[in-house]
């Protein structure tokens, strides 16, 4: 359960409560959220982060041409939905010492949608 606050209704905030499951993950919206990731995770060679094409279901540190950090090389994860969700919400908590300088996404909907988008990138 989470709360969505819609401000500005007659000077008081209306509070809408809904279950996560109600919202179907939206890959198109996820692509927009992914704009924040795309600067480093691009399909071009020599980017700051590894390309994420086919990342869902892949083994961690699997892109041979990319120089991963030691912690990421040792993480030995499968990037299934649950691992991805934890990583995207707090990258340094999930794999401490990895080199991604990003604080993470904090809205559950953003995370779901980004994963939905990544699933389309195979």
């Amino acid at each position: 359960m989470r709360q969505l606050i819609v401000p500005g209704l007659s000077g008081a905030a209306a509070v809408v409560t809904m279950a996560n499951a109600v919202l179907a993950a939206d890959a198109a919206r996820g692509q927009q959220v992914f704009a924040a990731c795309a600067a480093c995770h691009s399909e071009h060679a020599g980017g700051i982060g590894p390309p994420l094409k086919g990342v869902v279901g892949r083994k961690s540190a699997a892109v041979e041409s990319y120089r991963y950090s030691g912690p990421m090389r040792r993480a030995n994860l499968i990037w299934d939905e649950s691992n991805l969700r934890e990583f995207i919400s707090d990258p340094q908590d999930k794999v401490p010492g990895n080199r991604m300088p990003f604080g993470g996404l904090h809205e559950q909907r953003d995370i779901d949608d980004v994963i939905a988008f990544l699933k389309t990138q195979n």
Binding site: A35, A36, A38, A39, C40, S42, H44, A45, G46, G47, I48, G49, Y66, R67, R99, M100, P101
Partner: protein
Amino acid sequence: MATRLKDVDAVMVGMGWTGAILARELTKAGLNVVGLERGPDRTPGENFILPAIRDELRYVQRLELMQDNSVDTITFRNAASEMALPIRRFGAFLPGEGVGGSGIHWGALHWRFTPADFRIRSHISERYGTKAISEDMTIQDWPLSYAELEPYYDKFDKICGASGKAGNLKGKIVVGGNPFEGPRSDDYPNKPIKSAAPSLMFAEAAKSLGYHPFPAPVAIASAPYKNPEGIALGECQYCGYCNRIGCEANSKASANNTIMPMLRSEPKFSLRTRAFVTKLNYDKASKKATGVVYTDMRTGEEYEQPANLVVLTSYVFSNTQALLLAGIGEPYDRATGKGVVGKNYCYQFEAGAAAFFEDKEWNTYMGSAGVGMCIDDFNGENFDHSGLGFFGGGYFFCGQAAAPPIAGRNVPHGTPRWGSEWKRATVKWYPRFARFNTQGSVYANRENFMDLDPTYKDVFGRPLIRMTYNGTENDHKMSRYLLGKLEEIIKAMNPTHYEMYPRPRNFTIVPYQSTHNTGGTMMGADPKTSVVNRYLQAWDADNLFIMGASVFPQQHGYNPTGTLCALAYWSANAITEKYLKNPGPLVHA
């Protein structure tokens, strides 16, 4: 004996901003292009990444991204009566090396010159009389107008994902932007980068005095952005590791993250790093550049690369040196004032200030080189110089470039330089200071120039470039005037303590001031007073084009990169649209 390589359509000498721009535009036009770079390759993925990048000692103090003085340097003297000595370690300015060049470590302040700047000699003569410009001030009009260059300024804005606020959109003044700028065809692609608290205080104080503050324009994306090349840039994280360092957030624009990713996958482009160009081959009879000679710095082997089109895309010093060694254009002679190569050398005339506020506390560890507020009320011809005794000016800037752990210890003058008193002062003032700068113009003077040093040589045995430069009376007067105006604004901010830092009488090669060296191969309308024409094509070799700030006739009160990159796009357009269809001089003298 140099190994002769296969002919190519075009060769770039240096793969910084202008090398990347030209290589990209020429390959798009179907040419096979070789990019020669004397330094190593640098990619964001290999070189601008955590944790290595946040290393002030390695990059800011030990200058890892800069030109290696043990291979090549320049010599310096203040006046023609002195003997020049080689600079063994760069200080006042820091030419870069490697793919991306100085465009990696820049502060990304992203400016345009004003319409009046482009016709400065005519403008001053019209406004203050034909005798207003003294004989020793060798300023010249640019051979093109602001309006002609505007589409290319706009193009570079979009390549960089520049952030700022327009002050003049198609002739309409926009409140909150710079009202003195030339008309823009479009706003910045990104909204202004966030300003820090001291900068906002500065803006308020400036406004209270009747000036027109606006956010500094920067080639740093303030939001996720995709450029016209299809390359994504990230949002600035305000991490503070910006000046002298590559950007870990892929937000500060460099050739490496805005153009090179496309070039690297372009089959018509070939990049050769550690390829040190030592000679520009020139056939005087046919007035053609025939190619270049370079040494592979890994093996010591020498190669000749013949090319139909040679583009000098290296730094100011190397561009000028290449022409002098090849015998292209008449070398400047200070005694007679004749000749053009090496003439009108200029060095940005900056001066600053610091202020300390006991009752404030700011996150001065954060920021970015361009985070801050400016006023442009005292730049160029934006104000009346009648009776002032000087020409020129500069913009004022109060920024928060982030105070790094080693160099960012601003303490009031008089504080001991070490020991417990210094430590107490550091702790007290670190979060309570603000820095200011005036980006002064330099109006060229006949005494300031570059030529070949008669004594000192580089590792290849080539004479070094000799810089003869000192601040002129005009520039000192200009700078003192700007500092006086800045001081009034600082006083209005009501600091506990402040200090003004005027320029010393004689220019010195330490400490760091700016990497804004200009001139030496200047552009102009007349071959007697310029080296390249309005399309940056050499008057003495129609297949030789010269890029970069070396073509500036003088330096105006803004950072040079915006203009030199716009000029590169302008020149590339002339090459692909005019020159390739009908090779030969694009301007007939």
